[in-house]
């Protein structure tokens, strides 16, 4: 399984980030949003969920978005930066009137752009004019991608107008040298292009009813023309891999077997990292199994507004990923680790799937709106995922006993762990977290951690989770409500009246921290083992399955592979430390894309030739670039 590289961004005297780009498996770091632009995007996103999370939508305007560089929410920010009224918007939110919220928010953002353009034209210095134009342009970003998708010609005209505006503001020069005066006529002319379009499309008094809330221009919406919008995540989203990156332990690798000699597993590895097996927004945004399960483990930073109640959690049967599967209940769960997967069935938090194969199909088809996977795909995914092993831990034997390396407190804690308690119906912690069974019992129990969904509900039983590796998977419980293992111990002590003393709780916690520990929990990157090198090795391993698939003339699975890997290779090139070698990676990606193109054209000789070229180029790069 490869990793999702964090696109590395830096600038010389220019603090910037990456623009949100087209959907890629390698996500781009989002440029910071201005508060009101962020709130608008969140309004569109949350307003399209069913049911609309009104509290969260209100907070989108009241509080800074998650990860914002601004300490103020949009409403407070506007109170200080703008003279525009926000009452129409807040009143519409209070009424939970979706259409009115859309209209008020759209008019507010477009009026803000005009307000800043007014300021630019009235500015007394090039510096002030530039700042106002920059702000206006950043606000325009709130509608830009939808406008471009719906009305490319207008987007181009407006894009040129923004260039004219920024060029015409003049320059303060540097230390008194090279200053130039603003060209007010040019600014005014360009400003009219922007403002006229905004007036006709975003500042209209009454927007026509819309099924989906989008920033598609009103004139286009009224025309009835079908517009395909790019799927995007709202500000505050985070689908980058966690840092530090969990260490992946694969059974075959530990036994010295090369993945390129295991084509079914290598193909499953590729699928685990392929957004192509999903459908809907997940596929377009670039979400794969590995997005949530970094290196078979978890992703503590994963967050999507409206789908996550906290980082590391997601509601996979909510409104966003697959409306067909929307259970209309806000019930995000903490992402579980997949380490030791073959020992942790049944699957799902409540153990609803006995088979990992059934569970996997449900993830692909129902949770993430993918097409029905082929038997080969499911075989490959299961073959790969059942190689996930627990992290080696020198302080624990295979049958769950502490070794002498474990500290004394943990030894004392082990006794408490195995001690029956009245509050546990005469059972011990070890009754369910069976030490010689990888600290689980493969059963569901209701321990009282789930708030009943309705009076009389018996839906609180959850599958016993393993305790192995848990030091690195905080927070705990199905909803991530327990921040630490100590908090878990306290919860049991309190709710089950265990009567533990403070030192006993500390000992029990120490025991859990040893059981859940690992010799090496994280991937250790250095100047040799770089993130790009790891990704490159994984992508070329995925490609190695062509040795099996090409002779079988298996077009369907070849195309799934080439579509996934070629795009990822090219996208990952931007993260290389060795930037000079980037064109070679682009060339390599094109070779793989050419395999796919030849297979699509049913030209198998050309496909074979491109595959041979890929292999020899990849080997040359491996020798040279690293």
């Amino acid at each position: 399984m490869r990793i999702k590289l964090l696109a590395f961004v830096f600038g010389f005297g220019l603090g910037t980030g990456l623009l949100a780009g087209p959907a890629m498996a390698t996500p781009a770091r989002d440029t910071p949003w201005l508060p009101e632009a962020a709130a608008y995007r969140l309004t569109l996103f949350l307003g399209n969920l069913t049911p609309v999370p009104w509290d969260e939508l209100g907070r989108a305007w009241e509080e800074p978005y998650r990860g914002s560089e601004y300490t103020q929410g949009a409403l407070d920010w506007l109170a200080g930066q703008s003279s525009l009224p926000t009452e129409p918007l807040t009143a519409a939110i209070a009424r939970e009137d979706r259409a009115a919220v859309f209209g008020a928010a759209t008019r507010l953002v477009s009026a803000r752009i005009d307000e800043e353009l007014d300021a630019a034209l009235a500015a007394e210095s090039p510096a002030a004019a530039q700042q106002a134009v920059r702000t206006a342009r950043e606000l325009y970003r709130a509608i830009e991608d939808h406008l471009a998708a719906a009305d490319p010609e207008a987007a181009r005209a407006l894009g040129r107008a923004w260039l004219e505006l920024s060029s015409a503001t003049g320059s303060t020069g540097v230390l008194g040298a090279g200053a130039t005066e603003p060209d007010l006529n040019a600014m005014a002319t360009a400003r009219v292009v922007v403002s006229d379009y905004l007036a006709a499309n975003y500042r209209v008094a009454d927007f026509a009813p819309r099924t989906a809330l989008t920033a598609v221009p009103e004139t286009i919406a009224l025309s009835g023309r079908t517009v395909t919008l790019p799927a995007t995540l709202p500000p505050g989203s985070d689908i980058f891999d966690q840092d530090p990156l969990p260490l992946l332990v694969l059974g075959f690798e530990e036994q010295g077997i090369d993945e390129t000699d295991l084509p079914l597993i290598a193909y499953g590895d590729m699928l685990f990292d392929s957004p192509e097996i999903f459908g809907g927004p997940a596929r377009e945004i670039g979400i794969a199994c590995s997005t949530c399960h970094n290196r078979s483990d978890i992703n503590q930073r994963f967050f999507i507004p409206g789908a996550s109640h906290q980082p590391g959690a997601v509601d996979v049967d909510g409104a966003f990923f697959n409306p067909m599967f929307n259970d209309r209940r806000a019930d995000p769960i903490d992402i579980p680790s997949l380490r030791g997967l073959r020992f942790t069935g049944p699957y799902g938090r409540d153990g609803r799937f006995a088979s990992i194969r059934d569970f996997t199909r449900n993830v692909i088809v129902n949770e993430f709106a993918g097409a029905e996977p082929t038997p080969f795909m499911l075989d490959a995914l299961v073959a790969y995922m059942t190689e996930f092993d627990f992290l080696p831990n020198a302080m624990l034997t295979g049958d769950g006993r502490l070794t002498e390396a474990a500290p004394e407190a943990a030894q004392r804690g082990a006794a408490i762990f195995n001690q029956p308690f009245d509050g546990l119906n005469g059972k011990s912690c070890a009754s369910c977290h069976v030490p010689d069974g990888n600290f689980l019992d493969r059963q569901a129990h209701d321990i009282g951690s789930v708030t009943p969904a309705y009076e009389g509900s018996r839906g609180g039983a959850l599958d016993t989770p393993t305790l192995l590796g848990t030091v690195y998977t905080a927070p705990y419980f199905h909803d991530g409500s327990m921040p630490t293992l100590a908090a878990v111990v306290n919860w049991f002590d309190t709710t089950k009246s265990l009567g533990l003393s403070e030192s006993e709780r500390a000992d029990l916690t120490a025991y859990l921290e040893i059981v859940g520990a690992a010799d090496e929990p994280y991937e250790d990157f250095d100047t040799e083992n770089t993130p790009f090198r790891l990704a490159f090795a994984e992508l070329t391993t995925f490609a190695s399955t062509l040795d099996t698939l090409l002779p079988r003339r298996d077009a369907q699975h070849i195309l799934l592979l080439t579509d996934t890997v070629a795009a990822d290779l090219a996208a990952d090139a931007g993260t290389m430390a060795n930037l000079v070698a980037r064109p070679e990676i682009y060339s390599l990606a094109e070779r793989l894309a050419a395999v796919g193109a030849a297979v699509r054209a049913d030209d198998w000789d050309a496909a074979e030739a491109s595959w041979v070229a890929f292999q020899s180029e990849a080997q040359a790069i491996e020798e040279r670039a690293f």
Partner: protein, 291 residues
Amino acid sequence: MNSMLSRRHILALCCASLAALAAPVRAQSAPLRLAFIPQENPEKLLGDIEAITGWLSREIGVPVEGFVTIDHAAAVEALRNGDADISFMGALPFVLAEAQIGAVPLLSEVYRDAPTYTGRVFVRRDSGITTLADLRGRDIAFADPISESGYLYPLAEFERAGLIAGPAESEAFFGRVFFAGGYQQAMQAMAEGLVDAAGASQYADLLLAPGQQSQVTWIAESEPIPSHLVIARPGLDAEMQENFVNAMLRLNELEHRAMLRHLYGPDGYVPADATTFDGVRALARRYGLLQ
């Protein structure tokens, strides 16, 4: 290409800086005052200043204060009148400050193992444009008229290729010359097809989305440009200067590297070499920025 701030921002920053000054330090000698030039969200810069001045105070053993200036000119004025001892600065403003007030270069930022970078002329790979001459009559977006890598150095490549005799002729050679306001804006305009080429830092394609990065290439690269640097006012106490430089060089050590993100994000620092700015001085004279 600093981001200019509103008066409201500056007032807020000044107040917050005063609050930061109240931080306790071990020694009570005269404070070292650092001028920062805002290049992104001013709120973030405030937090950065607090972090780095706190660290420097502990390392040097004297109070270190940081404050935000409105731009390079204000920073240089602060150095001139003694309100600031040290400032962060680009290479071009430095050579002007050197000429105007005798500013002293202390440290150069390092990116990817070098205290230099280049400017490039970028085009879309599918544009069919392969040489600078192909851009005759076409549109180009630069970052800013006073940007080294985002204007002056890339434009000099057109001179070197014999296509223009000087900056004044650029309007005649190109269809349109735009100043987009920054590297990213210039690159985005090129990538989206609003213009045919962009002049920007050699790393500016990394500011594009990953999918766009593979769609662009560059057709010319400038001479090395000295990276941004840290400068001192003339007459700053030699021991203080040495202590400051030594502390900053400790940022290159693994245990302190995390602090670099509070300082415009370089990979590290090296002692500045005044002779490496000869090219910038010559360019500034050619462009009429320096007498």
